[in-house]
């Protein structure tokens, strides 16, 4: 069915065999990276106990590694890195504004409730 009322952006992403080889190389590279990050995370989790003095550092490195993984999934696997700048911002900005706010709420309210429960001897 041919429609002339829309512009077929769907064809924009087509590429040839040579470009495909390059892309696949990139995909396998990202795969290796994600696998290594997961292995590092599990090793850290298994060998560093929560009672250890290093734990605080390990905890934050978990968060950092997770964000790295997430960035690779979104930008490479979901091809957001290849989209127009405006689309990137429309997707990412509102999300991050909300999340930063929610994390702020989580920490302040979490502390407040924790203190309150302690005060009444829960």
């Amino acid at each position: 069915m041919e429609r002339d009322d829309i512009i077929e952006y769907s064809l924009d992403t087509h590429h040839d065999e040579a470009a495909g080889i390059e892309l696949r190389k990139k995909i396998w590279k990202v795969t290796a990276l994600l696998t290594i990050i997961t292995i590092v995370e599990v090793a850290l989790g298994a060998f560093v106990k929560q009672s250890s003095t290093l734990w605080e550092l390990v905890k934050w490195s978990f968060v950092a590694l997770t964000l790295v993984k997430a960035a690779y999934i979104v930008l490479i696997f979901m091809h957001l890195g290849d989209e127009k700048k405006t689309l990137k911002y429309v997707i990412l900005l509102p999300y991050f504004v909300f999340i930063v706010y929610l994390i702020f709420i989580l920490l302040t309210e979490g502390n407040a409730v924790s203190e309150a429960l302690k005060a009444i001897g829960f």
Partner: protein, 340 residues
């Protein structure tokens, strides 16, 4: 992307509302917007989890202590299984992106192959999650115990294998002297939960009494998780721990030992912990399941050749976006539920 063509448009088209400022098709854009809203839902769940954990007054369970089993191999493998699950999901994300790439080259065979691999990966993940839930619900062999001073402790070590039950007092089904060799651990746990084990003599479902033949527990360590009069949270008891454990399970008092988890109690920690576990991993698991169904439907249409006739495989791209998103969410669940 390597060779995005800039679609040429005249001013009539631009002002006629036909051009997307994002240079992307309607369907893909809507998928992105849906994913943003779904991401907010998951973020809300994880943040409420964080809030509860942050404000909780009792010790929160530690991932590597709670999830340390492997199928067929038993306990003692902290986080390995969930790491395997994570790896399976990442790999299925990779096969999905390869399917999308093949679609961009109009390589129908390639799309078929990689989509099928993605579906298999997805099924593996859902199956793994079922196993994980089963294990979480049934719990450890030892269970969580309440000590004489009211403190609560988890138990580590090697659980002595139950050999058999020898009936010493006949009930409805078993006659005296019968040796029972089936469903031992389940009966054993059930009896202890209801205070029906005393002096190593168990009262079975049918009212018969049987002597339990069980090997000695080895390397038993009790780790206190809730304060009592004598022991405080975090203390490890090694000396005489096996005797203490034996006394607790033989006390004949119901509910001193908790096995596994449900929405009311669990052996791992606060009630909310299991509730969040069921809700978040359940919600994610349902996403994975739906993703497998979507992928299957699209796969069938690929096989049928519909997208090839259409001239592009954008539907594969859209379902791919959803699939990557499921992987993305798992990366966060993995970190905040299992690792931290």
């Amino acid at each position: 992307m390597s060779n995005h063509n800039e679609t040429q448009t005249d001013s009539a088209t631009v002002w006629g509302g036909k051009v997307s400022p994002f240079r992307t098709s309607y369907g893909k854009l809507m998928m992105w917007f849906f994913l943003v809203s779904d991401a907010l839902t998951f973020s809300g769940l994880l943040i409420s989890y964080g809030f509860t954990r942050h404000s909780c007054q009792v010790a929160w369970p530690i991932g590597e202590e709670t999830f340390n089993s492997l199928p067929f191999l038993g306990h003692g493998y902290p986080l390995l299984y969930v790491a395997l699950m994570t790896f399976i999901l990442i790999v299925s994300s990779v096969t999905m992106v390869l399917a999308v790439e093949a679609g961009h080259r109009m390589d129908k065979k390639g799309v078929q192959k990689w989509m099928l691999a993605t579906i298999v990966g997805g099924l593996f993940f859902v199956g793994s999650q079922a196993w994980e839930w089963y294990h979480f619900i049934h719990g450890s062999e030892f269970g969580k115990i309440e000590l004489a001073d009211g403190s609560k402790a988890i138990v580590k070590g090697h659980f002595g294998e139950i050999k058999d039950f020898t009936v010493v007092e006949a009930g409805k089904h078993h006659h005296k002297g019968a040796v029972i060799k089936e469903d031992l651990l389940h009966e054993f746990h059930h009896a202890i939960e209801h205070g029906k084990l005393k002096n190593d003599t168990i009262t079975l479902h049918d009212g018969s009494k049987a002597l339990v033949h069980r090997e000695k527990d080895e390397h038993v360590v009790l780790v206190i998780k809730e304060d009592g009069l004598k022991y405080k949270t975090g203390k490890r008891i090694e000396k005489g721990a096996d005797k203490m454990y034996h006394d607790v399970i033989n006390s004949g008092t119901p509910h001193r030992v908790i096995y596994g988890a449900n929405l009311k109690v669990n052996e791992y920690g606060p009630t909310q912990y299991a509730q969040f576990f069921f809700f978040i991993t359940g919600f994610h698991g349902f996403h994975v399941f739906s993703g497998v169904v979507f992928n299957l439907l699209i796969f069938l249409k690929v096989v049928e050749g519909r997208y090839h006739r259409r001239g592009h495989y954008e539907m594969v791209e859209k379902t791919g976006l959803y699939w990557h998103f499921v992987d993305l969410v798992w990366v966060f669940v993995f970190t905040f539920f299992y690792l931290v």
